[in-house]
């Protein structure tokens, strides 16, 4: 017993540095971030350690294992230990358990803090099941150390093995039960406790435990029999590049284009799609073409010439009309989807709130006829307001009438689409600002403006068409939202649970946060979101830069795992998407593509 205690004491003294480093990174940095966030935004302290632990926990396990084994397995020290009256298995087991304890404490303690301080209880799942993954990774690192006996080489081999443990189950369907996303992607409703023990969790734990047992048995055998692998440059290059290729292969498997191209229409050289709408039969396409440089304050700025084309869908495919000179709807908000006149997709209504520099603002309705060659064909004055009131208005067409809702609610007759006529003007009470409602909270209540003659559902739909960021879209009872900043890279799904005359209540049902792989391949900047048939089409990339990968990702809002990615389409400049009612979708970029629906996934 004394011998074991001495060995454990020695190991602890040699390994404890990893514990302090681990705690510093996994608990210290999130604590600093939490304090900073508390000072800037919230009043309550919250610590978000789980992303750090998920990403760096495995790396820590590998480093600790490589350090623990190679420290005493060099030529001279190994001879020394063999001369002592200690069994090799006993020495290695002490090393194994002390190192493992360090890894588990460094990784689990930050999660305990997260559960303690945060309202979100997702970390409970990680706390219970992730230790099995760290155990497996630690054991693989231990095995690598026992085989190559060089810290740097063992760490590289261990990290390669880690990539395989993470990504092989993604690539190989028979290993799906060992996929770590069973744990990391298991979303639970905000503020509630997760389902902590399912068959999937148990299978994952069993797999990791089996891997760990095999690895430690092989490691002990290697030390006992003196097995050793001579590691050199070739082996290291090979191991690392093989792991990187597997990683890349799994990324291709996850993020490769799987929306079938049904038709592809070439646009003239250098022309790209700026905006596109289609109801399944008719629509329009607005394209941009770089024009001559214009000098503004001595600086050259590239101008853009806009072109309008009508779109007609038929059983055989898309038919584009001839190009007409057009103007981009520059006043439109990034996120707005202005209502189009019934039967006239080329006519759009945009309620603009204009400040002339005084403390008064004017809300007017601008009417755009995109095929007219004019920026605005007509404007209708709606109301005056102070600059303290809401700086935008929403618009919706219902039963042939156009409703504009802001600090007033104005109803317009659009029998003549280019000459709307005001039918009524109602002053609305000062509303609560709903703009930042969908910020990730579990339950959200939107207060509905009391517009006479417009049912609650239509008032809600008008409210959801938010002209600026954050971006919201609704399909049936499901609303998808992006947070205020496009850089936060989260997509949230809410279900409408209660709709009264004055308020709509939503419950969060899903969240999608891009994985490391998705971020690596450019899914960092959301451009556009559309919903149709229970699917969310998200255009990703930045319209004014070709450097960031433009693509369209499709998420399913139905089934037990809402917002699971089911489709992906990458093509040059693919930043405009328009899903059609029949399941197909139009994607616009440097060409126009008609793509089929995403393949169905069994689990969703």
């Amino acid at each position: 017993m004394n011998q074991l205690r001495s060995l454990a004491w020695k190991e602890w003294h040699e390994t404890r540095a990893f514990l302090w480093i681990g705690l510093g990174v996994l608990a210290g940095l999130p604590t600093i971030a939490g304090l900073e966030a508390m000072a800037q935004y919230h009043h309550q302290f919250e610590i978000t350690a789980s992303p750090w632990v998920v990403i760096f926990g495995g790396v820590l396990a590998i480093f600790v294992a490589a350090g623990a084994t190679c420290r005493d397995l060099g030529d001279r020290l190994e001879n020394f230990w063999r001369s002592r009256p200690i069994g090799a298995a006993r020495l290695m087991l002490v090393k194994y358990f002390v190192g493992l304890a360090v890894v588990l404490i460094a990784c689990v303690l930050p999660l305990i803090l997260e559960v303690q301080f945060n309202r979100d209880k997702n970390a409970v799942l990680l706390m219970i099941w992730m230790p099995f993954l760290w155990l497996a990774l630690y054991s693989l690192g231990f095995l690598a150390g026992c085989l190559v006996r060089s810290t740097a080489h063992a760490a590289m081999l261990g990290l390669s093995a880690m990539l395989l443990v993470y990504f092989l189950p993604v690539v190989l369907p028979p290993l799906q039960w060992m996929n770590v996303t069973v744990i990391t992607d298991d979303f639970v409703t905000f503020g509630t406790w997760p389902d902590i023990c399912t068959r999937g969790h148990l299978a994952f734990a069993a797999g990791m435990l089996g891997l760990a047992v095999l690895a430690i048995a092989a490691a002990l055998l290697a030390v006992r029999r003196g097995w050793r692998i001579e590691s050199g440059r070739k082996m290291m290059y090979g191991a690392v590049s093989a792991a990187v290729l597997i990683l890349f292969g799994s990324a291709a498997f996850q993020l490769g284009t799987n929306l079938p191209i049904l038709q592809q229409i070439d646009l003239p050289s250098q022309e790209w799609v700026v905006r596109m709408r289609c109801d399944g039969q008719r629509g329009f396409l607005l394209t941009g073409l770089p024009g001559p440089d214009q000098y503004v304050n001595g600086r050259a700025e590239t101008t853009v010439q806009y072109r309008y084309r009508s779109v007609e869908m038929s059983a055989t495919g898309i038919k584009l009309g001839g190009p007409l000179q057009a103007f981009k709807m520059l006043d439109f908000g990034w996120a707005s989807d202005p209502p189009q006149a019934p039967g006239h997709p080329e006519i759009a209504y945009w309620p603009a709130v204009v400040n002339d520099g005084s403390k008064r603002e004017e809300c007017r309705l601008d009417i755009y006829a995109l095929d007219s060659g004019k920026p605005v064909v007509n404007s209708v004055h709606l109301w005056q307001q102070s600059d303290q009131e809401r700086g935008f208005a929403n618009a919706i067409i219902w039963r042939g009438k156009l409703y504009v809702i802001g600090s007033h609610a104005v109803t317009l007759d659009i029998t003549e689409p280019l000459q709307p006529r005001i039918m009524s003007d109602q002053l609305l009470p000062t509303e609560n600002n709903n703009s930042w409602a969908f910020d990730g909270s579990g339950q959200v209540m939107l207060s509905l403006p009391p517009v006479t003659g417009l049912p609650a559902r239509q008032r809600l739909e008008a409210l959801v068409d938010h002209p600026w960021w954050p971006l919201w879209r609704m399909d049936g009872d499901v609303l998808c939202a992006m947070p205020a900043s496009r850089f936060e890279r989260q997509l949230l799904a809410y279900r409408l649970t209660k709709l009264t005359d004055t308020a709509a209540t939503f419950q969060k049902i899903g969240v999608h946060e891009p994985t490391l792989l998705e971020r690596f391949f450019g899914q960092s900047y959301y451009q556009e979101m559309r919903m149709q048939n229970g699917l969310v089409y998200l255009a990703i990339g930045y319209q004014f830069s070709q450097a960031i990968n433009p693509s369209v990702s499709v998420f399913d809002t139905r089934g037990p795992h809402p917002l699971r990615m089911v489709g992906h389409f990458a093509a040059p400049g693919a930043l405009e998407v328009c899903p059609l009612p029949d399941g197909r979708a139009l994607v616009g970029g440097s060409k126009l593509w008609l793509v089929g629906p995403p393949p169905r996934r069994g689990e969703n």
Binding site: R233, K234, Y237, G238, S241, V244, L245, F248, G249, A251, A252, F253, L255, G256, T257, F521, G522, Q546, A547, N549, P550, S551, F569, A570, A571, P572, G573, A574
Partner: protein, 229 residues
């Protein structure tokens, strides 16, 4: 000379295989799965090849041989020093260009004429290969006296970072466009993202060939000086 080349081939051919497998696999997997748009994917592969291959080649030719202790024996052979350097340079050029050529062929087979024309694709690969070779000459000249591969790799990465930063600086509007011709990255700057302008291709090639000859001559002087000492 053939014996020297055979020796280099024997020692370095695995790196050629490694480079070919990695670059071709990345290009083919990426283009087959259309994980990102074709032009972005090819730009990635070219960038990877352009930065990785020169470092691997330059650090593995002379410094690696020094750390293994065989370089002194090589210098003691009755062969002129410039021939030794020429054989190593030839192998380095093969290491830089071979994987890029293989990746270009793979890309053409998988996605030629799909989103980019084959000519555009080949032009991108050719310019990236040329830039990689020019970077290799810089790294070869600067690392020729270093005692081991690790130091040479670090210096190679330093050279790479220097030229990336310098190229961005040279592209600044107030700098005369002709100054860009000194950068080995001038051949690809702006080509990846369709930025117009920059010095003419002929000017860049002329300046870069001159710089490469001077660098190589300087490297051969280094070896000659080592021999005399």
């Amino acid at each position: 000379m053939p014996s020297l080349i055979w020796k280099e081939w024997h020692e370095q051919s695995w790196k050629l295989g490694f480079g070919c497998v990695v670059l071709v696999a990345m290009a083919v997997i990426g283009l087959r799965s259309r994980i990102i748009a074709d032009d972005s994917m090819i730009a990635w592969v070219c960038f990877l090849g352009m930065v990785l291959l020169p470092v691997l080649s330059a650090s593995g030719l002379v410094p690696a041989e020094r750390s293994e202790g065989s370089f002194a024996s090589l210098l003691a052979l009755p062969v002129s020093r410039w021939r030794i350097l020429a054989a190593k340079t030839a192998m380095g050029l093969v290491l830089c260009a071979g994987p890029m050529i293989a990746a270009a062929l793979g890309s053409l087979l998988v996605a030629g004429g799909r989103e980019m024309t084959s000519a555009q694709m080949l032009a991108l690969y050719a310019r990236s290969t040329a830039s990689g070779i020019l970077l290799f000459i810089w790294m070869l000249a600067l690392t020729i006296r270093l005692p081991n591969e690790t130091r040479a790799s670090l210096l190679g990465i330093g050279v790479l970072i220097f030229w990336i930063v310098a190229t961005l600086g040279l592209a600044y509007q107030s700098v005369p466009p002709l100054a860009m011709t000194v950068s080995p990255l001038a051949l690809v700057y702006g080509f990846f993202n369709d930025i117009a302008g920059g010095p003419p291709l002929i000017g860049v090639l002329a300046a870069q060939i001159a710089i490469a000859i001077v660098s190589w001559w300087w490297a051969s002087r280094q070896i000659a000086a080592e021999d005399r000492s």
